[in-house]
Amino acid sequence: MKTPSLLFLFTALAGTSFAAATASPSASATAPSPAAAAAKSADPTTMLRAAVDEVLAIAYPEKIAADSVAPAPLAERVRPVLEKYFSFDLLTRSAVGPGWNQIKANDQQRIITLFTTLVIRTYSDKFEPGARPGITYAKPVEIDAARRELPTAIAYAGKNYSVSYRVRQQPEGWRIYDVNVEGVSMVANYRAQFDPLFQKGGAAAIIAAIEKNIADYAAANK
C-alpha cells in the first residue's frame, strides 16, 4: 500500500458511539409506588436502578398489545420518569455555568424548560428497537458528602459502553445532574457550547440557540 489507506479515516470517533446512552435511565409513569419509595431512598444506586428499570420498561415493553393504538413519541412517554429522577434545574444551571446568576428569573425558567425538552429528546432518541441493553452497576464513588458518581457498564448490540451518572442529594432524594458516556460529560459538553453564546449574547442567545435546535429537529422529523 503506497498511500495511507482510508482504513483509519474513521477511527477518530470510533470509540465514542453514543448508542450506549440508549441504555440510560428513565422510568415509567405507570409504576408509582416502588418507584416513589426508591426515589426517596437514601441509597443513590437504588434510585438509579429504579430510574433505569422504569425507563427500560417503557422503551422495551414486554409485549405490545395487538390492538393498541400507535404510542406517543418515546420522549413524551419517558418524560415523567426522567423528571422524577433528574434534577433538570441543577443540570441546566450547571450547563450554563457562572453566568446563571446574572440571568433574570423568567429567562432562567425559560432556559430550564427548553433545555429539559432538548435533553429528554436527545436521551430518548438513543433508544433503538431491538434487544434490551444489559446494565451492570459498579460501586458508587464519593465526590463529596452530597454528590456521588455512579459508574455503570452497558452491553448493547454486541458492544460495551461505560456510562456514569453524577447524582446529588436534594431535599426530595438523590437526583441525577450529569450523564457521562465514554468519558464525555453531557453537562460539560453543553457548557462548552453555552459559555461562548452567553459571553456574546447573554441569556437571549442561549434561548435562541436551543429554540433553533428544537425547531430544526421538528422540521426534520415531520
Binding site: 477511527t11 446568576n101 432518541d125 465526590i143 461505560s162 457550547q193 453555552f194
Partner: protein, 256 residues
C-alpha cells in the same frame, strides 16, 4: 471517576504550578466563578482552555466533512445496512477490530504497560481461534480480557507525557489533535492489511487489498454516522460540541 487527583504519581511540577495558579485565581476572585453551584464547591464543569489556533480553517473543513458524510458516506452506509443482516455486520466489525491488534499491542508496549499488552495478546488469540478469525468477540465473556483500555501510538505518546497540542479537523477523518494525528498516521502501518509483506505472496492481486480496505471503511460507516448524527442532533453549536466531545473523550482515554 478517575480524576487527576487520583494519580498523585503523575503530578508534574507543571501541573502543580497550574493548580496553584488556579487556586490563587479562585481565592482572589469574589466568587462569580463559583456562583453557579448551589454551595461554594469548585465548579466541576468549568470550561478548560482549548488550543484551537486554526479554528477558522477547522470550521471550514468541519463544514466540508458534514457535506461529505451526508452526500457520500451516508448513501454507502444505508446501502450496506440494507444489504446485510445485523449478525454479519457485527461479525465484520469484530473481525476488523481484531485485525487492529498490532496497534493496541505496540501502543501498550511503548507505553510500558506489559499487563495490558498481555491482555491484548490473550484477546487476539482467543478471538482468532475460538472466535472464528475474530468474527465473534468471545473474549468479552472472559472477565480478565474484558474492558482493556484503548491503546495505540497516541495513548503511548500521552503516557510519555506528550500533550495533545492544538485541535485539528482533518478532511474526511474528522476531529483530532496533533498528538493523535501523528499517532493515527503511525497506527495505519500497523494494520496487517497494509503490510507490504503480503504483496509477495503467491497469487496476490492489488484488488484484494483494496477490496478489504474498502470493506473496512464501509462496515465502519454506520456506527461512525450514528455517533456523528447523535452529536449533531443534540448540539446547539455543532463545531463546539464535536470539539469538546472529542477532547473529553481522548482525555479520558489516555488517563485510563
Amino acid at each position: 471517576m478517575k480524576t487527576f487527583l487520583h494519580h498523585p504519581a503523575r503530578w508534574s511540577r507543571h501541573a502543580l504550578v497550574a493548580f496553584s495558579a488556579l487556586w490563587l485565581v479562585l481565592a482572589a476572585t469574589p466568587s462569580p466563578l463559583l456562583a453557579a453551584t448551589p454551595t461554594d464547591e469548585p465548579d466541576e464543569f468549568a470550561v478548560k482552555p482549548v488550543s484551537d489556533p486554526l479554528e477558522g480553517l477547522n470550521r471550514a473543513i468541519f463544514k466540508f466533512n458534514d457535506g461529505f458524510y451526508s452526500f457520500v458516506l451516508r448513501p454507502v452506509a444505508h446501502g450496506y445496512e440494507r444489504a446485510t443482516p445485523p449478525p454479519l455486520r457485527h461479525g465484520l466489525t469484530n473481525f476488523f477490530d481484531n485485525l487492529r491488534f498490532p496497534i493496541r499491542l505496540v501502543g501498550d508496549v511503548l507505553a510500558g504497560r506489559p499487563k495490558r499488552a498481555a491482555q491484548e495478546t490473550g484477546k487476539f488469540i482467543v478471538n482468532t481461534t475460538v472466535g472464528f478469525a475474530g468474527l465473534a468477540r468471545v473474549s468479552d465473556s472472559v472477565p480478565a480480557l474484558k474492558d482493556v483500555p484503548p491503546a495505540g501510538l497516541g495513548t503511548a505518546f500521552a503516557a510519555w507525557g506528550i500533550g495533545p497540542g492544538p485541535f485539528l479537523v482533518l478532511p474526511v477523518i474528522g476531529p483530532n489533535d496533533v498528538r493523535d494525528t501523528v499517532g493515527y498516521a503511525g497506527d495505519v502501518w500497523l494494520i496487517p492489511t497494509n503490510w507490504a509483506a503480503f504483496d509477495h505472496l503467491d497469487g496476490y492481486h492489488w484488488w484484494w487489498r483494496t477490496g478489504i480496505q474498502t470493506l473496512d471503511v464501509v462496515q465502519s460507516s454506520p456506527d461512525f454516522l450514528k455517533t456523528y448524527d447523535d452529536f449533531l442532533k443534540s448540539a446547539v453549536d455543532p463545531y463546539l460540541a464535536v470539539r469538546n466531545g472529542y477532547l473529553q473523550y481522548r482525555e479520558a482515554a489516555v488517563k485510563k
